[in-house]
Amino acid sequence: MPELFPLSPVHYVAAPLLAAFLLPLVAKLSRSFIKILPGLTFLYVLYVSAVLYPQALQAPIIEQIAGWAPPLGINLYYGPMAGLFASLFSALGFIVWLYSLTQMKQEPLDRFYILLMMLVAGATGMVLTGDIFNLFVFMEITAISAYSLTAFLREDDKAEAGFKYILIGSLASAFVLLGIAILYSYTGTLNLADLALNMDKVPLSVRVIVFGLFLVGFGIEAEIFPLNGWAPDAYSAAPAPVSALFAGITVKAALYALARVTILLFPFAGSMALISILGLVTLVISELAALHQKNLFRMLAYSSMGQVGLAIAALGLFTAEGVYAALFAMINHAIVKGMLFLTVFAMAGGSATLDGLNGMGRKKPILSLLFTLGAFAIIGLPPFSGFWSKLSVLTAMGQTGNYAMIAIVLATTIVEAAYFLRATGRLYLSEGNPAEGKTPLSAIAALAVLAAGILWIGFFPGSIDETLTAGAQDLLDTAKYTEGVLKD
Amino acid sequence: MILLQWTLTPELLYQAGTGILLFLLVVAAIFSVVQKDLLMAIVGTSLVSLILSVLFLLLHAPDVALTEAAIGVALTTAIFLIALRKTGRYEE
């Protein structure tokens, strides 16, 4: 087979697409295919990662779609950073599929899995592509899957949350599209690398406007305050597996897009500082807002926004350490928050409040332990993964002399500890609802994979060091990027 | 007189037509935004699409014009109308 289908980054998108188009057909043959096919697809994509990612660490893989050299055609840039994200997304997709196998019962399942696959594929496309309009297309794919999945449970409030998401999300699309249009009309090219070289054709005042448009557009998807109003509603309305993917995938893809675009097209000190400050503001406000939250999913949503804010604050430093830390924080958040969403859903169902956790320590000890682990990891207690990511964020801030930032991050961590431990404490209250049902093995397995990830990174943080360093270099080395893309 | 120097060239017709259409476009857009009767608002958006479609044609973009005509004028309007039938005609 390798000769017939040489592996290339486009498989990340093509395979889920093919599977998504096939799914309605195979569903007519047998219902069981509906569940199996997405899993096979994610497995295949993981296999692609396993083969391609080590190669990307050596040298970025640049693929030209339809055989046209970059300024003319669309290219995919599969460097260490894109590879890292693509692999992360595929892995999360697989885990969420494994979890959904038994936990997701809402019909129509075929459509659910199509949307799920396309959510992952769209986000992967966003990080892979080297073309700004193609980026927009993939953003739309991600966003439309996300809207539908938000309203998937078809209750009134869920539909409303989905509608809010569409409202704000379409604003995001409109702004990004406008920005692209302005850039194209000045430079006559859509390729990111080519644009980076041609940015001098755009007057400075226009660049500021375009940056503002992109910041708002991508910022909406990346949940930057005050653009993240849709997020708490969407997270709490969507089925938990989907919320896990929102936290783990869509935000990360948008953040990647924002980072890539900023560093390639708008590398001003001001734009970077602005991103950092916005990240901090997001962190502080989200964490404080989470403090009083009774609805667990909303609490996790706010926490999610806060964590992303932390990553953005580190990213905005745009030093090697800062990007390293931001990547670390994002990976950690993807794993941990994914696990928390899934655990809470398995423990207390789709509309869990804090009271829903009461007494779970006795009834569902394994899930309680996992929740505790997740809470500790998200707060950043050693020896779990969150500690190292938070520490790298802090040292990155220390290196640039931003001591006030360190203090703010640490102060919000206390707030974070307050609400997460309050929730953890609920597990050990004696009174509570009667426990119903056992958690199926596949769901536990999915959670166990994530928990193992938390512990692994916690005990061997060096194991992902190379990955993160390469990713950070890949993002920051714009010259290498443009040369690589435009070499032929 | 400057006016007298103008002659009715195809160029001028083209310019004038475009100008009028652009004006109508803005009017139709505002009309559909401020209209409380949603049915009229839909007609307004449909009108916007129609004018846009003509404009695209005038700008030598037949592909886009065709798309706009088919999607903007026909399909979107139909979908809006169906949605309207399922909800209510007037905005609160």
Partner: protein, 615 residues
């Protein structure tokens, strides 16, 4: 692996924890054996611990572990308390739920304490510090219910402290490029003094939270009262001493050369003094045995901080001596109270009474402990307090002497209340079936620790030898004539110079008793319950005639002005304000899509305006 190395030591300590967790699924006895073996093995390994340091890289940081004489002293305290604690847990925790979690967390806490002590760099110290914090948090909330609230409070105070530490660690790392305490100390003196003050201030703040120094003591009473009794012994006895360890390290290894060192230490000494006085007054008010002991712990740590902050060789010696002794006698007290709770299910001093004949060993333990606590010779507590007074006087802190003396004296009041309410007074029918606790697992730990107080009182040299090497390590000029520093010791320093003191004290007491005896003899007669008549009636046997309720009402009325203003209330107020702020901010998210769209548009407008303005 080298069995004298620190990696092996920690591997045993942490590995034992997980093994015990797994063994819980096999059998109770197997698990208990593993638990006991783990703590005793690590205690034994302490003696063989080699000198070589151990480094490893983790997440881009170099972590270095190694022993120092200073840390070895504290490790000794941990080991001394850890073994009795697990022993005491076996029976005590038998009827509690989720024993696996309890032992896992207990052993992790113990191992993490060793880890803290054997950290030569700030990051590994912080890592173990946090591990200790979360595992002890899980132990505190083990009972559920109210304990959850106390535990969260404990964790939040700890987190505030821990993150203050981390703040400094990150900045220090950035400044010196190394995490090793030696390197940090070397580059620390090069910083400007204000920076030094800030960094040391945050570090000291962080460590003092764990030590329960006022005003950061708010977590202590609740957490001590709600956690399972055997763990409380370790909690108050050893875990809070980690704060003392850290403060000593900061003050004398990092901060000493700074121009602000002296004023900061003076301030700390006063904080210690005030803590001891106020906490003693609070302890007197308590009606719950564990809360009483909790406040007593806070007070005792105040003494320790006082001695630590003064920074004379003698005061340091005093501080470290009290550190050990307080650990021992407070563990005894918590064990005894735990034993009473184990048999009666009560810790309320107003309900307990007359257990002396039912639980004589517990009574003996409490008696020994409070003699030690009240600094009465010949038990160990006396030595420490004497040294403290002596050092305070030598360094001209007369006012602090008064404060310390006042709180020492006042502590008689609460220890008396404790022993009276539980063990003395009329025997109650409801306690008729109360038996003494089992010997091996519960009496033995208590008695062993009681023996320690006795031995350290008679032969303080056993403790002073490691203390002097610890102090030498910290840079204090202690030569072989250390014994001459205090008039308390004989010329070889291994024994207390008891003769003079015992004769003085003995004479005073004997004279007093003699006078009293002869003065009151004629009017003294022996009574039984039956001899008491109320309103001319003989009371029935089960009618209670001794009361412990409102034990110190006059005192409480007198002390009211001081105690009515609570610092904890202020800190709670801060917490409430943050929480209200959070509630307010939550309303930014109105749930209305249009509002969100407004935010987006406003934000874009703002960005565009700001961008063009900057241009």
């Amino acid at each position: 692996m080298d069995i004298t190395g620190i990696p092996f030591f920690l591997a045993v300590s942490f590995g034992g924890a997980f093994l015990a967790y797994l063994m819980n699924f096999a059998h109770r006895f197997l698990r208990n054996a593993v638990v006991l073996l783990t703590v005793s093995a690590s205690a034994a390994l302490l003696f063989w611990l080699g000198d070589e340091t151990f480094s490893m890289e983790m997440g881009g940081f170099v972590l270095t572990l190694g022993k120092t004489p200073y840390s070895l002293f504290f490790a000794g305290i941990v080991a001394l308390l850890a073994v009795p604690t697990v022993l005491f847990s076996f029976t005590y925790m038998a009827k509690e739920e989720r024993p696996a979690m309890y032992y896992l967390n207990l052993l992790i806490t113990i191992a993490a304490m060793y880890g803290i002590l054997f950290s030569l760099d700030l990051l590994s110290l912080f890592i173990f510090w946090e591990i200790m914090t979360w595992s002890s948090f899980l132990l505190t909330i083990h009972k559920g219910g109210n304990a959850t609230k106390a535990g969260v409070k404990y964790f939040l105070y700890s987190a505030a402290g821990a993150y203050a530490i981390l703040f400094s660690v990150v900045i220090l790392y950035n400044m010196s490029g190394s995490l090793l305490i030696e390197d940090v100390a070397r580059s620390f003196v090069l910083q400007n003094p204000l920076m030094q003050l800030m960094l040391a201030g945050t570090l000291l703040f962080g460590f003092s939270v764990k030590a329960g120094l006022m005003p950061m003591h708010g977590w202590a009473p609740d957490a001590y009262a709600e956690s399972p009794a055997p763990f409380t012994a370790l909690f108050s006895g050893a875990l809070s001493k980690m704060g003392i360890f850290g403060m000593g390290m900061v003050l004398y290894q990092i901060f000493l050369q700074s121009p602000f060192s002296l004023p900061v230490r003076e301030l700390l000494a006063w904080a210690g003094g005030i803590t001891s006085a106020l906490a003693t007054l609070r302890a007197i008010q308590q009606t719950d045995a564990k809360r009483l002991l909790a406040y007593s712990s806070v007070a005792q740590l105040g003494y320790i901080v006082m001695g630590l902050a003064l920074g004379t060789p003698l005061s340091m010696m005093a501080a470290l001596f009290i550190t050990l002794l307080h650990g021992v006698f407070k563990a005894m007290l918590f064990f005894a109270v735990g034993a009473v709770y184990f048999r009666t299910g009560l810790t309320d001093l107003n309900e307990l009474r007359g257990l002396i004949r039912r639980m004589p060993v517990s009574f003996l333990t409490v008696l020994m402990a409070i003699i030690s606590l009240a600094n009465i010779p010949p038990l160990g507590g006396f030595v420490g307090k004497w040294l403290l007074y002596e050092s305070l006087i030598q360094s001209d802190h007369y006012f602090l002497v008064i404060v310390a003396f006042f709180s020492s004296t006042a502590s008689f009041l609460y220890v008396y209340r404790l022993i009276f309410s539980i063990f003395l007074g009329q025997e109650e029918k409801e306690f008729e079936h109360v038996k003494e606790v089992p010997f091996l697992t519960m009496q033995l730990p208590m008695l062993a620790l009681a023996a320690v107080t006795f031995i350290t009182g008679i032969f303080p040299g056993i403790v002073l030898a490691p203390i002097s090497s610890a102090l030498t390590y910290l840079g204090f000029p202690i030569q072989h004539d250390m014994w001459s520093m205090s008039m308390l010791f004989n010329e070889w320093g291994n024994r207390m110079n008891l003769l003079a003191m015992i004769s003085v004290i003995g004479t005073v007491f004997l004279t007093g008793f003699t006078i009293l005896y002869f003065y009151r003899m004629r009017r003294t007669r022996y009574v039984t319950t039956k001899d008491i008549h109320t309103s001319g009636e003989v009371p029935t046997e089960n009618e209670n005639l001794t009361y412990a309720i409102n034990f110190y009402q006059p005192f409480e009325r007198a002390a009211h002005p001081v105690l009515s203003k609570s610092i904890r209330a202020w800190i709670d107020w801060i917490g409430r304000s943050v929480s209200e702020l959070g509630d307010f901010l939550r309303h930014i998210y109105t749930g209305d899509g249009q509002t969100y769209a407004w935010y987006v548009v406003l934000f874009l407008t703002f960005m565009l305006a700001a961008g063009s303005w900057i241009l």
